[in-house]
């Protein structure tokens, strides 16, 4: 009896990993486990940093830069875009409808829920994409995805969500999980002649200088979007940020709102869940 029980214990111990792998296939997307590991990596690397401060990008990493930013925020360079965005947002289309007719809660205070996975179309919908789809559905020409009016409208929408914690959902839908995983793959994949991935700068080297710039941590990196960048001398959207990153490593950028860009936005935004929306922002 004792021997039989010992054999059963050994068999159970050997079978356990197999049973576990049947429940969660090896390599299957596991956003919750990723979230935990991602959060733990950054909080352990920067233990004295308040969690919500990660949403402030490079300013959370460098005291001198932070002081400059606090001074700049007295007269923020994105203010003109904010005013223009509010006006555009409230101006009716030719058919009399407005953006408020396209979004939940009339488009106010909803930035933290974008991007989301649309189970009808089976794709990731970003705020920028939703804005242009709203325009097209109402007979208006789409905006340029990278700056100007798109940056202005999304700046206003982000402003109405300021302080709200990011709340990105990944439904138990194999297509949503696949999109999430593709975004994660894009984030960690090296590209361009300089052979850099997004993670090379924003996971492996946040707080370090690359030339004169202080690298932002990947955690919360999109919370301040859209941003006014001094380097650009204008506002820019998330699309613009991704495209610039690609060309900085000598890679040819994808088209704005390419599926890969939307997926990586989905991945990064999910990683930022719980961190406050801080957009629109300004960056050097």
């Amino acid at each position: 009896m004792r021997r039989a029980s010992w054999v059963a214990t050994v068999v159970a111990a050997l079978a356990a990993p197999l049973l576990a792998s049947a429940a969660q296939p090896a390599g299957a997307p596991d956003p919750q486990a990723d979230f935990k590991a991602f959060r733990s990596y950054f909080t352990q690397r920067f233990p004295s940093l308040k969690l919500s401060d990660f949403a402030n990008g490079p300013y959370s990493m460098d005291e001198g830069l932070r002081k400059q930013w606090e001074a700049i925020e007295q007269f923020p360079p994105y203010e003109f875009a904010l005013d223009k965005g509010k006006e555009l947002f409230n101006t009716p289309f030719k058919n009399g409808k407005t953006y408020a007719d396209c979004f939940p809660n009339k488009g106010l205070g909803i930035r933290q829920t974008y991007p989301y996975f649309d189970d009808k179309s089976g794709e990731v919908i970003t705020l920028e994409l939703a804005v242009n789809r709203c325009r097209e559905a109402n007979g208006e020409a789409p905006y340029d995805y990278v700056k100007d009016d798109m940056a202005a409208v999304t700046a206003y929408m982000a402003y109405t969500s300021r302080g709200k914690p990011m709340d990105i959902k990944i439904p138990k839908d194999s297509r949503a999980l696949a999109a999430y995983e593709k975004g994660k793959e894009y984030f960690y994949t090296r590209r361009g002649q300089l052979n850099f991935s997004c993670a090379s700068c924003h996971v492996q080297n946040p707080g370090q200088h690359i030339r004169t710039e202080v690298l932002a941590p990947a955690l919360g990196i999109l919370n301040a979007m859209p941003i006014y960048r001094s380097e650009w001398g204008s506002m820019g959207t998330i699309s613009r940020r991704f495209m610039t990153c690609n060309s900085q490593v000598r890679g040819v950028p994808l088209k704005p709102q390419d599926e890969n860009y939307r997926d990586v936005e989905y991945f990064l935004s999910y990683m930022a869940n719980g961190l406050p929306v801080s957009g629109p922002g300004s960056r050097p």
């Binding site: 994949t189 002649q193 040819v252």
Partner: protein, 104 residues
């Protein structure tokens, strides 16, 4: 003297004859190099992994060909092909290697 004039004339004529023949040969080499480079760049595009430097080399090659300097144009086209092939190799390698950088 007459003999020397004939040799000189033949030499000049040979230069004239060899000139266009050499130039045509260079153009053919350039066209082959450009086709190979564009083919490789197209493959990199299918992998969504083109490099800006490849495109710069292709543009420069076409510009040199436009001025008739096919030697430079061919060299630049070959450089573009090498860059495109490197970007293809990078994409293939990264298809699995990205997982090594994943935070776990």
């Amino acid at each position: 003297m007459h003999h020397r004039s004939l040799i000189a004339a033949a030499f000049v004529l040979s230069l004239g004859a060899a000139g266009p023949a050499l130039s045509a040969g260079d153009e053919a080499a350039y066209k082959a190099a450009l086709a190979a480079a564009e083919n490789a760049e197209q493959q990199a595009g299918a992998l969504k992994n083109q490099w800006t430097t490849t495109q710069q080399a292709l543009t420069a090659a076409k510009k040199e060909a436009g001025t008739g300097d096919f030697d430079k144009a061919t060299a630049l086209a070959k450089q573009a092909e090498a860059l495109a092939n490197a970007s293809i190799a990078q994409a293939k390698e990264q298809a699995t290697d990205w997982k090594n950088a994943d935070i776990r």
